[in-house]
Structure formats: structure tokens, C-alpha cells
């Protein structure tokens, strides 16, 4: 995490982490993998220490070592949940990577609107939405560039494994650092209310997305068929069989002409041959091989 430049304020560096033994790192890696399928290879020790330090502080524990001793004993469900949440929280920001939002605005949404004129319904799913910046970015962009959709039914679901981040996402309250990152100032003034040093997404925008708890590796509840699925910078944390399994389940969730959006460094290549990559507007999206707008 970058240190802020120029002045005091929020977002200062986390507390100095304690050391994590090789055995304890192996235990934590295995624990996280069993609970969430997220892989933490060697080299991720600092990340683990930093995140576990926050849990130690929050839970009022003595040290990382004592936290792990408690986990090894088993039965500490709340602590186990807190550790999974801390280790699986993904960084996100408004309009992250920018180009996929240009792709949505210039191509995907115009085509989708044309294809859905008879039903006036669009369904989207943002998987691993974390603290909500991605779905809110999509909604801000839609409201600004496609005002005709205000009369449509937009079924927008955003999910994450972590209840804590979902709570933050539902509240839609962000720090100065968070709204500083990637959010056009015009959108800040249009879609946020100032809240005593923090910034809250306006209620009419918050009402347009449903945040739900979901673990990608567990059985999924039935979902409405989706026009667009966002699962960006998430699959990178899983091993190959898990990536393939998740893509297979997403494939069944997508409409035949639906679109899958991954992170810029991700691909379905070697994982699921049922997707076709399409390059456009400086970005890549994925269609089912038998799909495409008619």
C-alpha cells in the first residue's frame, strides 16, 4: 500500500507486523485455502502478516502466534470468520483500469440495449464486489451515459464472501482516499453526499444494486440469467481447478449472448474452452462460443 504524500490524514500505514513462522504461514495458507480456495504461495508472507495483524488488533489478541494457536485448537468460529474475511478482502477502486468501462459505454451497453428493447430488462452480476466501488462505478456510468435506462428494470447483484465489506458496500460510505482514486470529480459532485470528511453514494444509486454474501467455491443459489458478469482480478487468487470450476458455473449463469469481463491480466485460455475472447476498445471481453448478439 502506498504511503500518502503531503500531510496527515487517513490511510496511514498499518501497524508494524509481527513475524510469522514458516509453520504458521503454512497453517494459515492451508486454512484460507480450505475455507475460500484462495491460494497463498510462498512470497505472500508479508501480506499474511499485515492482514493478520489487523485481526490481532481488532480482536484484542496478544500476537499473531496466539491467534494461530487459537485457530489450531479449533472451535473459535468468530475468529475463524474474521481471519477468512481479513485474508480474502480484495483491493478495489472506482473505475479500476478504466478501459473496461469505456468498453461498456462504447460497445457492450449500446448493443445490449438494442438487444433487450422488447423486455427492457438488463441483468448484471458483479462477483467479489468487495467494498462496492465496481458496481457503483457501473451504475454511475450507466446513469450518466444511458439515462433512458432509468425506466428499465436493472437487476444488478453484487456479491462477496465477506460480510464486513458487504456492509461497507451497502452503506456506500467512502474515505477521502477512496474517492480520490479513479473517480472523476464530476461524478463525485453528482453522485455523492459529503458526510463530515467522508463521502456517501446517493441513496437512489445505492438502491439500484443488491449486495449479497456468496462464496464462489460453495454451491450457488439460483440466479437470474445474466447479461454481464464482472469477475475482475478475482480468479488470480485461485488454483487452476478452482478457476475452471468457477468459470464453468459462470458459463451456466450467462445468457447465450451474455458477456464475461475479467481482469486485464486474466484469461479463460487453458481454463474453459467454451469462451471466445473478443478484443475491442483496448479491452478484452468473453462470449460463449455459441453466443453473440443476433
Amino acid at each position: 500500500m502506498q504511503q500518502p504524500i503531503a500531510g496527515s490524514g487517513e490511510g496511514l500505514a498499518p501497524p508494524k507486523p509481527r513475524s510469522l513462522s514458516v509453520e504458521d504461514f503454512a497453517f494459515i495458507s492451508d486454512f484460507v485455502r480450505r475455507r475460500s480456495a484462495i491460494v497463498m504461495d510462498a512470497g505472500k508472507e508479508y501480506l499474511a502478516e499485515t492482514r493478520l495483524s489487523h485481526v490481532v488488533q481488532k480482536e484484542g489478541l496478544e500476537s499473531i502466534a496466539s491467534l494461530i494457536r487459537t485457530l489450531r485448537q479449533g472451535g473459535a468460529r468468530e475468529l475463524e470468520g474474521a481471519v477468512v474475511e481479513a485474508m480474502t478482502t480484495n483491493e478495489t477502486s472506482f473505475f479500476r483500469d478504466l478501459k473496461p468501462f469505456d468498453l461498456l459505454r462504447l460497445e457492450l451497453l449500446p448493443n445490449l440495449i438494442a438487444a433487450r428493447r422488447s423486455t427492457r430488462t438488463i441483468s448484471m452480476w458483479c462477483a467479489a464486489a468487495s467494498t462496492g466501488q465496481e458496481p457503483y462505478s457501473v451504475l454511475m456510468m450507466i446513469d450518466q451515459h444511458f439515462p433512458e435506462l432509468r425506466d428499465w428494470r436493472i437487476n444488478f447483484v453484487a456479491t462477496d464472501i465477506s460480510n464486513e465489506v458487504l456492509g461497507k458496500a451497502r452503506a456506500g460510505i467512502y474515505t477521502q482516499f477512496e474517492v480520490n482514486r479513479g473517480l472523476p470529480a464530476q461524478m463525485l459532485v453528482r453522485y455523492f453526499d459529503g458526510q463530515g470528511g467522508k463521502w456517501q453514494i446517493k441513496p437512489e444509486l445505492r438502491a439500484r444494486v443488491q449486495f449479497k454474501e456468496m462464496n464462489l467455491i460453495e454451491p450457488w443459489a439460483a440466479m437470474e440469467p445474466m447479461d454481464i458478469v464482472f469477475i475482475r482480478n478475482v480468479l488470480i487468487y485461485f488454483d487452476q481447478p478452482t478457476k475452471t470450476a468457477i468459470l464453468g458455473k459462470i458459463r451456466k449463469t450467462l445468457r447465450p449472448d451474455g458477456t464475461l469481463l475479467l481482469g486485464g491480466a486474466e484469461s479463460t485460455l487453458g481454463l474453459d474452452d467454451n469462451f471466445t475472447a473478443v478484443r475491442s476498445q483496448g479491452s478484452t471481453f468473453y462470449r460463449l462460443q455459441t453466443g453473440g448478439f443476433k
Partner: protein, 125 residues
């Protein structure tokens, strides 16, 4: 690309100039709005100006208003970089003609991402 850094703090001018240099800009700087106008009249318009708000002689808002009154400088992007963090201030700056707004404290990534929004650089990963 050329950028003008306008801030009454020498330390901030150095930090922002270094950040912009790393992002591919040649930089000039000024300690207030009046000095900045003199630089622009001498050097011609820049691609970008980073503008503090609270400065002696001529503050950032006045500079933005003056800069936007010059048709020859209309393509110069103006980005406020300021400790003023109230919504009303952001609105005022945008209405005066600022293109973007960064609240202090900031990181290098914040500057880089804002420049990408302005079409002036690569987006930070």
C-alpha cells in the same frame, strides 16, 4: 508533455514535480496564481497545470478563472490539488473550469489515475 505545478509550498512543488517527471512530464513551477500566469505568458500553455487552492497574491480558484478566460489556453487541463475537501469547494472549482480535483493527502497512484481520466497518461494498475 509539459506541466505547471502551482503551490505556495516548495515541498509540495518538489513532490508533485518529481511525480510528474516520473510520469513523463517536463515540469515548471510557480508559487502562486500570479506567478503561474507569468510563466504561461512566457512559455505558452502547458498540457497540464496542478493548482493548489490557498495561495497568496492569487489563489487557485482565481487562477483557474483567469486561465479559462484565455482562449489560447483552452486545451490546458487544470487539476486542483488541495486540502479543500468540502463538496461545495469541489463544485465551485469545477464550475470555474477545473477539469479534475485531487484532495490532499494523495499518492502517486492517485495522480496517475486522475491523469488517465484526463487522457494524459497510463492508468495505474
Amino acid at each position: 508533455m509539459r506541466a505547471l505545478v502551482i503551490d505556495d509550498s516548495r515541498a509540495i512543488r518538489l513532490i508533485l514535480s518529481r511525480t510528474l517527471t516520473e510520469l513523463g512530464f517536463e515540469t515548471l513551477d510557480a508559487a502562486n496564481g500570479l506567478e503561474a500566469l507569468a510563466v504561461l505568458q512566457r512559455e505558452g500553455p502547458m498540457d497540464l497545470a496542478l493548482v493548489d487552492w490557498n495561495m497568496p497574491e492569487m489563489d487557485g480558484l482565481q487562477f483557474v478563472q483567469a486561465a479559462r478566460a484565455e482562449p489560447a489556453w483552452s486545451r490546458m487541463k487544470l487539476m486542483m490539488v488541495t486540502t479543500e475537501t468540502e463538496l461545495a469547494r469541489v463544485v465551485k472549482a469545477l464550475e470555474a473550469g477545473a477539469d479534475e480535483y485531487v484532495m490532499k493527502p494523495f499518492t502517486r497512484d492517485v495522480i496517475a489515475e486522475k491523469l488517465a481520466l484526463l487522457g494524459l497518461g497510463q492508468r495505474a494498475a
